[in-house]
Homo-oligomer: 232 residues x 2
DNA sequence: TCAAAAGTGTTGTCCCTACACCCATGT
DNA sequence: ACATGGGTGTAGGGACAACACTTTTGA
């Protein structure tokens, strides 16, 4: 019987930074931690990687369990593995960031967990190294969104250009010229204009668009330069 | 005494995809595996994460041990954690890619390990999921190198533009116009022209350059569009 | 009629690519 | 002299940012 004798074994967890957009501000979803230590403090959604699942599986399972949502946009970020990051026992955690449509979440809220949306810039202090994870996720989201059309994942199926515009400004924490933005985003060819208008925001109303799924899936790897004066 | 009772524990390893450049072709450094199972098969440089080190520490330690080199460019890629990826025992592995100056390596080769450079496109089959790791690393290297000035890490302190040019072509597996390339790369302002010329490649000789460390460190996060017709 | 937001037009600038051509030098 | 890479010049086109303007419609 072959074995890797004498090597230490560790717990492996996943933690998810869940981003949402309420139409005005970027938010993250936090939960009150249900186990010791630090019980009842705010933390990211997380859980241990089970014996028969990959970390990706685990992250999807955790999200399903805590939000009720499946098929969420989920991206592996990095591993957090400093020896002392969990005071009880050595635990390595794989950080993920998730993008969800906040309204979809509210529709099927799972009340078993005390979860709450917080403004990204006004959130409680989190346990362990979770604040670092949020900072890293924010940075990575910005980076990725500048080059790839992923922010659609935080909007409903039907959305308007002004909505998308505000979202881009929120994520990048900057002002973007509305006129150039709408042209740039439509010129990607990823949007399909619908006949219907959203009239809640203005008298004139803004046309709804939906994503061209086919082109979206084909182009999700392409570089798009979605941000003016691209700098990080 | 608080504990996370009943959760499974796993081995955690690191595996490094080490890239090098011999002046003509992109290569990777492989080792003959020294333990069962699959002993004497070719594999990536790897090792288990020790009790008092982070995965990043472990990757640096493994590289130091097997190549003798310190301060190597090392970047975390992703975690590989499918339940059955190691047939002996569940092991999660953090993949890293490393860029090293192949000549520096040869200068202080560690003969304790049977290590060998292989052409990236002509390498032996590797154990477990290491072939997948190499494919992922190649893709990530290409992606990153298109936007950030990291390929310098594979060249000596003094290098010529034609050398850099071939390296870019190798990494991206494409032809790049030499004339436009040299202008684009010098226009980044990251290079300092030296008085000396390399005359091994041509009669005229090509000027040596070195990296402007100060600007390099300041700009390593900037987007640079180093590849024409940027597509992935 | 007016305010307010949506969205189109316009223009100058800069960058990028393609390609021609000159440069330096060992043989 | 001439072959061989190294490197610069140049011109056309396209993208992009800046900003003016029109459109739509509820109040």
């Amino acid at each position: 019987m072959i074995e890797y004798s004498g090597q230490p074994h560790y717990l492996v967890a996943v933690d998810c930074i869940v981003f949402g957009f309420d139409g005005e501000h970027l938010k993250i979803l936090l939960v009150k931690r249900g186990l010791e230590p630090e019980i009842n403090k705010w933390s990211l959604m997380g859980g241990f990687v089970g014996a028969n699942e990959s970390p990706d599986d685990a992250a999807n399972r955790v999200l399903k369990k805590m939000t009720g949502l499946e098929g969420v946009y989920l991206e592996q970020m990095q591993i957090y593995g400093e020896p002392g990051r969990d005071p009880i026992e050595r635990t390595l955690s794989v950080g993920y960031f998730a993008l969800i449509d906040i309204h979809k979440y509210e529709a099927q809220l799972n009340d078993d967990y005390e979860a709450e949306w917080f403004l990204i810039n006004d959130r409680p202090k989190l346990i362990f190294d979770h604040d670092q994870m949020v900072a890293d996720a924010r940075k990575k989201l910005r980076y990725k969104a500048a080059l790839h059309p992923i922010l659609f994942e935080m909007l409903p199926k039907k959305f308007t250009i002004p909505q998308l515009h505000i979202l881009f400004e929120e994520v990048n924490d900057t002002k973007i010229d509305t006129r150039n933005f709408s042209r740039k985003i439509t010129s990607t060819g990823l949007l399909i204009k619908l006949a219907e208008k959203d009239r809640t925001g203005s008298k004139k109303g803004a046309f709804y668009f939906k994503l061209d799924k086919k082109k979206y899936n084909a182009n999700s790897q392409a570089f798009l330069n979605l941000m003016p004066n691209l700098k990080i």
